[in-house]
Point group: D2
Chain length 350, copies 4
Amino acid sequence: MIKVGIIGATGYAGAEIARILLGHPDAEVVWYGSRSYIDQEFSSVYGNFFNIVDDKCLDDNMEELADKVDVIFTATPQGLCASLVNESILGKVKIIDLSADFRLKDVAVYEKWYKIEHKAPQFIEEAVYGLCEINRDKIKKARLVANPGCYTTCSILTAYPLIKEGLIDPDTLIVDALSGVTGAGRGAKVANLYCEVNESCKPYGVANHRHTPEIEEQLGYAAGKEMVINFTPHLVPMNRGILATEYASLVKKDGKLPTAEEISKAYEKYYGNETFIRILKDGIYPETRWVQGSNFVDIGFKIDERTGRIIMMGAIDNLVKGAAGQAVQNMNILFGLDETAGLKLVPRCF
Amino acid sequence: MIKVGIIGATGYAGAEIARILLGHPDAEVVWYGSRSYIDQEFSSVYGNFFNIVDDKCLDDNMEELADKVDVIFTATPQGLCASLVNESILGKVKIIDLSADFRLKDVAVYEKWYKIEHKAPQFIEEAVYGLCEINRDKIKKARLVANPGCYTTCSILTAYPLIKEGLIDPDTLIVDALSGVTGAGRGAKVANLYCEVNESCKPYGVANHRHTPEIEEQLGYAAGKEMVINFTPHLVPMNRGILATEYASLVKKDGKLPTAEEISKAYEKYYGNETFIRILKDGIYPETRWVQGSNFVDIGFKIDERTGRIIMMGAIDNLVKGAAGQAVQNMNILFGLDETAGLKLVPRCF
Amino acid sequence: MIKVGIIGATGYAGAEIARILLGHPDAEVVWYGSRSYIDQEFSSVYGNFFNIVDDKCLDDNMEELADKVDVIFTATPQGLCASLVNESILGKVKIIDLSADFRLKDVAVYEKWYKIEHKAPQFIEEAVYGLCEINRDKIKKARLVANPGCYTTCSILTAYPLIKEGLIDPDTLIVDALSGVTGAGRGAKVANLYCEVNESCKPYGVANHRHTPEIEEQLGYAAGKEMVINFTPHLVPMNRGILATEYASLVKKDGKLPTAEEISKAYEKYYGNETFIRILKDGIYPETRWVQGSNFVDIGFKIDERTGRIIMMGAIDNLVKGAAGQAVQNMNILFGLDETAGLKLVPRCF
Amino acid sequence: MIKVGIIGATGYAGAEIARILLGHPDAEVVWYGSRSYIDQEFSSVYGNFFNIVDDKCLDDNMEELADKVDVIFTATPQGLCASLVNESILGKVKIIDLSADFRLKDVAVYEKWYKIEHKAPQFIEEAVYGLCEINRDKIKKARLVANPGCYTTCSILTAYPLIKEGLIDPDTLIVDALSGVTGAGRGAKVANLYCEVNESCKPYGVANHRHTPEIEEQLGYAAGKEMVINFTPHLVPMNRGILATEYASLVKKDGKLPTAEEISKAYEKYYGNETFIRILKDGIYPETRWVQGSNFVDIGFKIDERTGRIIMMGAIDNLVKGAAGQAVQNMNILFGLDETAGLKLVPRCF
């Protein structure tokens, strides 16, 4: 049984890790870390765990934790993981960091977009970007996994095969995305109150959202060159889900646009054997409810012959494939388990 | 492996049975019956099942079905099950009926409240009311289980121990209940459109909702006498969940009201060993989100010394413990399986 | 033109006063008081007022304010109005207090339920309880109006005529009520975050909500005796609206229950000429959306011959008739204006 | 007093016209046409109008209606207005058609996108496209006004000045839009049931939504050339509101991108005197709640120096500026009234 510690267990992503691991055959949470609720019962924060989890919340002492568990999930704000991690800890446990601390390879880019100093730049090089379907082999050998952002997971996977295969022009990529409100976290802010969010939608972080460089870096690897994109997130009134609608100009061959069949083939080539990526049938577009509560990524597309562009659409549950589910998937890979262990979650569409 | 057929698989309760059974170790659905979608893929109706369920929808031929499966769930409108069932079918398969056809023992009461003629009154006597925690022993031997209504499951279980123990006066019981909109079914009615339901709540079926006689009959058995209650359901803008707030006058002993401890003891006596009933701690009241997606019933209470009344509060997920989950629980009992098989669903509170 | 000052203009009730008064022919807001946003534009807090209100927020200096305006609305937490008001201020301006400070006539009851010391008990006696339809004449002459609570406005008006006429037994009254989330205010609390409230409902303040003594006091005047009731509020996921479902035993005359006609007559007697109270037709029950954004109170009822009880149902918009609208109605009465001035708001049901 | 007839009064747009005109000083509805509810009280369909509107619903006899009213609003599905209108009717009354029948100048384009035969192509030429801020002068003299679509109103107005001034490249325009569910109408379809829409969002009509040619035609006039764009609508779980996020490459002058100041100036030039268009301050982006219930269009923008694109964002209430409000604004223009009469609706953000 793999022993798991969660730092940040009472945030939405942390609590989702706890929920998922309750159904995992080979792992169990033994440390519910939550600085704000130390010594309080975890189930007093989340009543759904009443009679299921009896543990009390503990602090975020990573040194102590490293001696007690096999893997640590850090589901905390940017900067915390980098401030705690060290060689001694990494010698003892695997770390799966759900924050952005180790996602970007260029520390200057990190510091520019996140506006904080990086406290452990020496580990950036070895950290593996945990986008499972793309980096599976590297993840197997990692000590430190940088779990991708929610928007980024969805945005990258939706466009990846077409960029990799040169079917779309990377310079034209525009990602317009919608997110449910759990994405904003559990902090007590007026902007996230029920009556401020309900019955409205809004763009935010326009042209400067922090997931932008992460998408650019990863898709840039696929493109084989630096990419600069537009990414616009929107908040919509629902608990969960991300929907990315992505636009790009198709690359003509011999004066002709690629056909729908060619596009499908490209998706099939990269994702045909992937359990968690579902390529939707022709004319079917993703809806966030179809993936709700599950680790699936649903992808559909439409070629617009009139404009020569393709519209790619992807949906995930931001807390599962966009956070806790992918983190567990990374754990499964790290420990050589069946990659789907604990993740055969049937989406619940209502 | 128990072979399962669902009649009405594309309704909300039917689809929920399908979802739950995908996680059941000993049962599998082999017949997705849906008159409206015959020959269409089940996953074309509910995209969440894409790549998970490949079956097409079949008709509702119960005779044919009886030869192919071990148990039939009828998740259909009132009257259908009674019109299809017969001795030959009951000789071959177990039937768990999610409609009201076999819930009421008095056919006249059924016909008065449901305003339809009962087509199979000869089976009413033998049908067992499938409220698992109360009728477990009778269910074991049944051929035909009448799965309780959603409001009734919640309303009965919340008050049962206190009535059984004579702690409250049955004549004073008032049940005020709230339901999510899945309770209204998937029929295409203007009243259930998003914009008609969203941002509003309303009472309905006031003093004549059909779950009233069902609550009265079952609680009447506990009281040892006929009961007449007030039951007022309300529609609230959420997908799932039932919350029952119940009022009754406490019965004084030697001029004194029962204490909170005595009330707790009564709940403990009947539910102390029940996996799916959670008696909340003192001062904690149920929230529907704490049980969402699970088979739990959460119960809390408050004694009001000023009025001499007790306020009992219970919450369930109307589609799980209030329909599909309890139906599976009944199946488990009927087939001698672990009663919780497939039902260790962790509630998802956001 | 009546000059208006609002203390607490950036709370939900305060902002609603501002919205309503923009359509008032004889009044204008000249002081948007908001301690948290001093010197910031009011429209930077509520973008809906952009290009409509150009004012900046001011502090809550009631002395200064009293020299500048004709009427002050205090839309602030309990205790503030009582701590600011004095004889000199009351000599200059009318005060309409939306907090509970002057609603209860017995200071001991206030201090017991609100758990704070009352700072200006000397004004309790003269303060008029501003339930317009009941206390209109007294309000006309008042200097200090205690604007009723949201739950109380709805609960009292729904039952008042039947208690006044002796048609129901006051000792049996139970009020079960639902509220939208604006009722919880705009404070940054985790419990009111979108994802904590959405897709759930819950009871709270069971048997000890502070609106209880207010309902009891006012209905007690109608009953001609002290009343003790049960009142259970619930939070439901919508922005606005209160729905009160009230139960009471009907009083038999000559062994007979009152008829629906007699009940209707009683409502007609008290409310027949009231613009803002709508007695619904037989068989129609209130829905909060029918009153949304308006000053209406919708009332329906159902006699249950089986139990001898009546179910009374009332709906209001908690921010309008339950707060800002009634406050403006009180202002209209105080200043001898048409009582409906600025309040001919057509409800917006979607 | 202008006499108004509404054909399709019980649809969401029709009911919204009714609501708005109740506050109009110079117009009154005398004919509530609704084929589905003939002889039923209008307020039995929409309880919010109880005690406010006493009329019963009438049929859609346009000939008869033309003799009784000064202006007819047709808030009906495509094809109906074209099938009813004729020279005799247009000789007697003004018609403001909220359907698409007279929006497109090329009947072939209409028939291709709407897939129905146009029954009155002879009136297409004279019909005026009722986008008030752009076509005000033409509207004044019209007999037949084609009221713009909801998505189109928002999409066009958001980009218009920048295209007109040559600041953006028309060939690069991409419109990604979100809509509340009232946009889907009041038809009883499973897809629009509460539980199918709630807690999800989805794209639809990708690359073939019918508002596409309407946007292209109108913006093409501004560009001075034919335009082909991408337009992707999404359904989000809220009653009202449209948010359009639009992307286009900025046109460099002397190798330099336009500055934010230049963009602001362009908006100012076209909308500086417009009551209903609000150019948001730098760094402020529209939220649908800020315009809810009002006739406002809120517009913000952000230049992305990295990509050379501009992100333009516009928000409207789809039922007001996107339908009923603009229709009333057109009526005001047609009859020489103050253009804002009845439309000084303060948005209600919660």
